[in-house]
Point group: C2
Chain length 344, copies 2
DNA sequence: TTGAAAGCGATACCAC
DNA sequence: GTGGTATCGCTTTCAA
């Protein structure tokens, strides 16, 4: 059996209480005694028993608030599943989660929910923000109140958030670029269907793609001019129809956010399935189908479940055990899915 | 706060001991009372507090044995890291891990270590087996002794093991095939560098590849005749040299196990880097380098760390909480790595 | 068949 | 500064 605090106490000839205070330097202990305790703890190879610690700390009772935007999207539904899972697992530790779901992007709703959660006395908040000054301000105010904030899925990097959990969209874009390059050994034409241009995530997926293409020096790959489709399948459909008319020899279409269903439909209608190949984002149900049917060749997934699952744990680690995340951005895996490795 | 056994006891008017026995049907409780307890537990929404449970169960003390073969390989080193990590985390639960490292494949050593562990009284064993009758027999004998066995990395499917943690090599082969197909839109030549033909894992990576190629009906892809390289880089090097002489227009080389360093060297010497592209297995240090240098285009990783990390938890769940894994094979993620998404 | 009580390991409060 | 003790939720043993 592992070493306990009691054993250290016995060895040094003090009480557990003193050992506890020394080990966690809570003060109120004679420096010499503390030194002796620390030394014997090291000698005996003491490591805190996290289960005992966890149990003792359930006495403190915590409430965490979570605010999600765009909950109507499949991705956010996966995030929610992750949150619920975390909620169940953390209930044992005396944590309670309060989830607020916001349809679409709605800054004022988010601000309201923050205030509401604070009024109800939550000790930590996780949210999917937009990087707007008002929200950044509010996060900083929460920081001053001693309420840690974790951003998820999207970030507010200029704020005093504890950390961010989500995809490194720039690297995801680079990865997509690599896939496109590998798909076009003899070169060819690439069409990009962009999302909202003012959305940071989509913009990063785009610039990562372009930068990697440039640094791979693939000048036999031709980029066709592109417009954003604003995540709308009907726009994407129409854009693709036109592009296919002008360029029936198109090689790859890169969809930086939504719109892949419209794209695939247009390809299918033109009888070019498998010929014109598609790289898209997020392994959700519709995309699973499109992968299996051979309409999409690669999906880059951002691990939405994990984006919901981790933040509550980060907050509880911070609040219960004073543990700060190692990095201020915890990037989820950039996971490449094909029809043959769909499941995780 | 969540409902506790004490609260149920108070509500029903019995003691916690009785509630405990009823909830976990340990017997020795009046059926009617038991029924009443179960009912109120449901009504009050009781869920067992795993922390309390875990703490109470640390009184029982368990030892688990782990036997790994081919520990000299980078993959197994990752497995070992996973095991050590699990060991640290489980020490709190009163679990102790006893790791036995075997160089190369050595059936008799494995059998010896099993016996040695049993003599020393371990309650569960994890091992990387070869599917040989003697070992299968031994695993079945352990089963009869009530000692659960988890296989990892490689499997012994015909044995009475509790479950297997590792890659679905057939699907990994299919995935590799898909990558090769996507890399050769106009068709081209594929050369396969196989490992040991009598190794199930390698054989499955091969047949998955061939089957997927067939089912994708890519008859413009030509498979060159191949020999095994037995995981030796010098053989792989020579084979590749010859193939490149005969087929300078070679498109893709698929390396089913080791040998990729020899392959890459030959490609590099022929000045065909990036021209002749490589799909290989396992994200270890050498392969990371080769990815970054553009010598290998895709690595399919089997999550070796996880293969070490999970089995001790599976055994402890089984022994401490009577939880049986949902499936008899827990396949690790088939993870596709490129130079741009190397880190997990 | 049931209850009471002693742990598991750590924390925190209250006396001294 | 320090020790004693109640407590967290559950398991397990021992009497009754």
């Amino acid at each position: 059996m592992a070493v306990t605090m009691q054993q250290i106490a016995d060895a040094v000839g003090v009480s557990r209480g003193t050992v506890d205070r020394a080990l966690h330097n809570r003060g109120r202990v004679n420096p010499e005694v503390a030194e002796r305790i620390l030394q014997t703890a090291r000698d005996m190879g003491y490591k805190t028993n996290i289960i005992g610690q966890a149990l003792a700390r359930t006495k403190r009772n915590f409430r965490l608030g979570i605010i999600l935007q765009s909950v109507e999207t499949p991705t956010m539904q996966d995030v929610i599943r992750g949150i619920r899972q975390a909620g169940e697992e953390l209930r044992s530790s005396g944590l309670e989660l309060d989830l607020r779901e916001v349809q679409g992007l709605d800054l004022s709703r988010v601000l309201e929910e923050i205030d509401s959660l604070v009024r109800e006395g939550v000790q930590g908040i996780a949210l999917s923000p937009t990087d707007r000054p008002e929200l950044v301000d509010r996060i900083d105010r929460l920081y001053n109140l001693g309420i840690p904030v974790v951003t998820l899925n999207s970030d507010a990097p200029s704020s005093r958030r504890l950390c961010f959990v989500g995809m490194d969209n720039y690297r995801a874009g680079q990865t997509a670029s690599w896939l496109a390059c590998q798909m076009l050994p003899q070169g060819g034409k690439v069409f990009i269907v962009a999302g909202h241009l003012n959305n940071t995530a989509h913009a990063n997926r785009l610039s990562g793609f372009l930068d990697a293409l440039a640094s791979e020096r693939r000048d036999n790959i031709q980029l066709l001019s592109f417009q954003p489709c604003f995540g709308r399948d009907d726009y994407a459909h129409e854009m693709t129809q036109h592009i296919l008319q002008d360029h029936p020899d198109l090689g790859v279409i890169y969809v930086t956010s939504h719109g892949q269903e419209g794209v695939c439909q247009a390809i299918s209608e033109a009888g070019l399935t498998g010929q014109v190949r598609v790289i898209a984002y997020d392994l959700n149900e519709p995309n699973r189908q499109l992968l299996e049917n051979g309409m999409i060749q690669f999906v880059i997934d951002q691990r939405a479940f994990e984006q919901g699952y981790r933040p509550p744990f980060l907050l509880s680690d911070y609040l219960l055990y004073d543990r700060v995340p190692e990095t201020r951005q915890l990037y989820t895996d950039i996971s490449i899915r094909t029809k043959y490795n769909i499941s995780n």
